[in-house]
Symmetry: none
Subunit: 194 residues, 4 copies
DNA sequence: AATGAATGAGTCTTCATTCAT
DNA sequence: GATGAATGAAGACTCATTCAT
């Protein structure tokens, strides 16, 4: 598929808006086409099928997401700082794109199991980034040597995810970003070498 | 609806099996009816519509779930012990019912948003139980006085949920229960008064 | 079927009320049973099937209807008077039973064609009564000798029927009975020997 | 809906045939689609739902019907002639389209009440045309000055309708058109100033 | 005679996808 | 490349009727 053509992103952006505003099951292909100002059939010149729109959407947006966080993390020297900056940016990016937040926290999860497996592959990259920070923390002695990396990562990701989902379910009506340091501290406590 | 009639639970149990094995979107009413050995129409004597099956299923199973955990927690005297026993039982109950684990971790989340709002109301009870443990820990000085109860609860629930989901996504092929103490310790560290 | 048992009429009367208030297609057997204070299955001890309820209802009510009109007509000596009294009573009887009026003018006609053929057989008796009056009028010279009995009857029945239907469609909000003499006069003019 | 597309009328014509031959309640959408040589889904590109087919059918056919009668009436100078020509054409048009006659006289009336209300709005136009003829007759002195226009119209429409229905119920086996002058005369007599 | 829980056949409608233009 | 009219498969739900008690 021709990913660098402008219509490719045009359709993806339309999909984010339509899914966020109507929900996954009310996001018909024709609605996305209309929002993108293209004909229904045109969608199929850029995407294999409807699920492919969602996967591509997720891959594109998640790619940007991870790239931004990776960059932010790179600027910090300690694992603790990196973890904090990771949480901060996770919250910040989703705060700044309300449509995307709705799509990632609520709507994507309504897709069928097969679709979610593919989406998990996309998340993998993010999980590996978290793992890297954790491993670094163990290596430098910031985190306890006995730390179970997998469990710690699940704690980090699960906590952030649950926090963002709760915020979205409450219609994003409080400030998510300001929760970052507190969340980060609790997580760090859990891992600290003491 | 007539909840004490045997057919009510018969249908719910059939739904758990069918949804776990086929996924929510492939769990046709006729398939559930067949599994329950009743006619399609009989379903509608006990449930308003298809969504009502899922909500009822979740309410019944979650009711049992919370009751079991509440009982286990009641037998412990410190907040820390209570939290550990909560995590242990959360993992234990889902470990022992693989079908239910699939339904709660994957399939229920595919339901439409409106449905999920109702399901959240059912979860509420569980979240309140977690809150109680946290409040007790703050009161007794086990947990730091500055603990943000909401965030802490999101950390506990998010961590357990992500841990179970990862386990389910990996086809339940490792022992979930044995992770409980490690997960519990990390969480406790995060909250401890030091 | 056991027509002299009290439950037979009890069910018919319930059917009139339920059909008038809910419409033919919303008059489920279970609703009629409830209104009649009997079990669903009991209906089938007195009626062959659902259509049989409607046919029986119509036969019973139409029987009473024709009997009343026949009696009123019998008391008059000229064909003209008989026709007038027929129109008057047609309007009077339906005026006094609003539920029945709704059922005969609107709901019965929603039944399937086969059903309506049977209902027509029930009306036959009424049409024959009208024919008798017309024939008498021709015999006595009150009506023109060239009168086409069939057409004249269709004119009488069609006019009365349309008048009642219009009244029912207007929610029976004006006085139907007071239209009788005017309708009767117009019809008589059409038939008069001059 | 796109009324000038050929498929619109193609579907309507198919519906007339299917409804006339099978009855309204046995006229499944799939049957109409097959008769029209289109896919089931295509129906919904031109009609909101099944009821909309019937309403549209009636509106189109009734529109043609009234237009033809209006034209015929326009060519006559006296109210009496107009009334005669109206009856003649009413019978003639339905005589020449046996399928349409079955649909208008029997099947349309089986539709639910809500549907019939909409259909009545379509008939309105025809009733107004009749009213106009009657008013003209009164103005010119052809009809008696005391004529109750509403009742007279009900007599005209009711008589014609009953006459056509009886003819349809008798499988259209006699000549309807030849009854027109006799029916017209009887009606005229009823209204005449003498 | 009476009950009412259980049955299961039957249909409208949506919407992802195609393909002739 | 782009269009959008046409396709047709698929499934939840209702309700008249039955029959074991």
């Amino acid at each position: 598929m021709k990913k660098n053509k402008p219509k490719y992103r045009q359709i993806i952006d339309a999909a984010v808006v339509v899914i966020a505003e109507n929900g996954y099951h009310q996001a018909q292909v024709s609605k996305i086409a209309k929002q993108a100002s293209v004909a229904d059939g045109t969608i199929y010149l850029y995407f294999k099928n409807k699920d492919d729109i969602l996967i591509s959407l997720f891959r594109e947006k998640m790619g940007d997401f991870v790239a931004k966080i990776r960059e932010a993390v790179a600027g910090k020297s300690t694992a603790a700082e990196k973890l904090l900056v990771l949480v901060e940016n996770h919250f910040k990016i989703l705060s700044e794109d309300p449509h995307l937040a709705v799509v990632t926290q609520l709507e994507v999860r309504q897709s069928i199991k097969e679709l979610r497996l593919q989406i998990n592959a996309v998340i993998k990259d993010y999980l590996l980034l978290i793992d890297d920070v954790l491993k670094e923390g163990v290596r430098t002695g910031e985190f306890k040597g006995s730390l179970n990396i997998l469990l710690a990562r699940q704690m980090i990701f699960g906590t952030m995810d649950e926090t963002v989902t709760t915020w979205v379910m409450n219609d994003q009506k409080y400030d998510l970003k300001s929760l970052a340091s507190e969340v980060g501290d609790m997580l760090l406590n859990g891992f600290s070498a003491r």
